[in-house]
């Protein structure tokens, strides 16, 4: 799946950059993210992602590695994990670019990934949609978290 969005955020770039590293606050904004913790600051994180599609529940412990960090401008990460119960493997690359818009920012999100295993094959049509919805929801939650 491949999702690209430009999400408006009511924060200047420096403040947005700071927010992105604020694990507890960011976890609340990512749909399906049940918990996350820092393993190595600005380098490695562990997150638990949960998603339900009809009768099928997915719960994946993700290993997240930050591969690029350009302060106030750009962040790239890789996430990998496997749901042991249903045998679905997830591999994702996410790039976040911050574009200054006066006192606010535009957060460019590019998420590319794959779900491997039977769920990936059967759920092909659903996964792209779910990913798009998740990124849109992330944008909405980010807006709410930074409003006022």
């Amino acid at each position: 799946m491949n999702v690209r969005r430009a999400l408006p955020v009511a924060l200047p770039p420096a403040a947005l950059w700071k927010l992105l590293w604020d694990v507890p606050r960011i976890v609340g904004c990512v749909p399906g993210c049940v918990e996350a913790r820092e393993i190595e600051p600005h380098r490695r994180y562990a997150a638990q992602m949960s998603q339900k599609v009809g009768p099928i529940s997915l719960s994946v412990p993700l290993d997240v590695t930050v591969t690029e960090a350009e302060p106030d401008r750009r962040l790239a990460l890789q996430a990998r994990g496997r749901d042991p119960v249903i045998g679905a493997e997830i591999a994702m690359q996410v790039t976040l670019g911050i574009e200054a818009q006066g006192e606010t920012s535009l957060l460019h999100v590019e998420a590319e990934g794959r779900v491997l295993g039977k769920l990936g094959a059967l759920g092909h049509g659903v996964i792209q949609r779910k990913a798009e919805e998740a990124v849109d929801e992330f944008g909405a939650r980010l807006q709410r978290a930074t409003a006022g």
Binding site: V53, G54, P55, I56, I86, A121, G125, V126, Q128
Partner: protein
């Protein structure tokens, strides 16, 4: 081999409700099992028990009342296919039932299971929309009716809560003078596209009511109110002339999803093609003839 589970066979709804309350997410409702057993085989679902609803009395009836037909959740596709009552009151449904999946699934699979599973690549929900279908959801607390349009939320997702059972679906039979068609297309086991179109012709020969539903190509099947409105007042000849613009309008509005059946663009294009064919087919029938072209898997009533 399936992973082991216990099998419960309640005979009343309250008994079923108790079992559901006791087992929660460790239980799955089991009717025909044509979808459930596949999920269990693939390991995508793990349950401790199956609750067989086929012995619960009252779920396997096809009832006719004024203005409505009710089909119980455990009625098999094959029973729908052979039901004289449904051939009389909802002929398109009865005839399409003969084309669902394959003959083995038709003998074993149930109407309730099909609707509750909400596989986007299926025929029943699309046709149900063309009959203003509504499902009955029973729980220990209450029973409620939900229109199909609000019941099917997305792929494999319905508004049924975990403690609810789908007990029946209610359809509103078409009025006298209604001509309908269902066109389905696909090369795989499950359909890639399904178009249901019905127009009611007034004694003066004009469309007084129209229903257009398209399914399989997007997250869920839906009706196209705007396009239906455009058909009102048309004669059979008008309708035949309007096939292309009506198809274009539908293709513009339809929500398509890329998957192994094709790209979103391809499905949009196929929607255009098949709605045009559906309109042409129905217009011809409304004028008292049949199209000389025969499209495979086209059912006309």
């Amino acid at each position: 081999m399936l992973r082991p589970f216990a099998l419960y066979r309640p005979t009343t709804l309250p008994e079923l409700g108790e079992l559901l309350a006791e087992h929660g997410n460790d239980a799955a409702i089991y009717a025909g099992g044509t979808e459930l057993l596949l999920l269990l085989k693939e390991g995508l679902l793990r349950v401790r028990c199956l609750i067989d609803i086929k012995r619960v009395s009252g779920l396997d009836a096809i009832l006719s009342e004024q203005g409505a037909v009710t089909i119980g959740a455990t009625v098999r596709h094959r029973t729908v296919e052979r039901s004289p009552l449904l051939h009389e009151r909802c002929p398109l449904l009865a005839r399409v039932a003969a084309h669902v999946a394959n003959v083995r699934v038709r003998h074993v699979g149930t109407i309730g299971g099909n609707l509750a599973f909400a596989d986007p690549h299926s025929d029943l929900a699309t046709i149900g929309l063309a009959f203003d279908g509504a499902v009955s959801l029973w729980s220990r607390a209450r029973e409620r009716q939900v229109p199909l349009a609000d019941f099917v939320l997305g792929p494999y997702e319905t508004s049924r809560r975990d403690d609810e059972i789908l007990t029946s679906v209610r359809l509103r039979p078409w009025l006298q003078g209604t001509v309908g068609a269902y066109l389905k297309f696909g090369v795989y086991e499950r359909p890639t596209l399904g178009v249901a179109l019905a127009v009611t012709m007034s004694p003066a020969g004009q469309v007084s009511e129209a229903r257009l539903a398209v399914g399989c190509v997007g997250p869920r099947p839906r009706r196209f109110d705007d396009v239906e409105q455009q058909m009102i007042g048309a004669t059979a000849a008008d309708l035949a002339d309007a096939a292309k613009p009506l198809a274009d309008a539908t293709a513009e509005a339809v929500d398509t999803v890329a998957d192994l059946h094709g790209s979103a663009d391809y499905k949009r294009e196929m929607t255009r093609v098949f709605v045009r064919r559906a309109v042409a087919t129905v217009a011809a029938r409304a004028a008292g003839r049949d199209l000389h072209e025969r499209y495979p898997h086209t059912i006309v009533v």
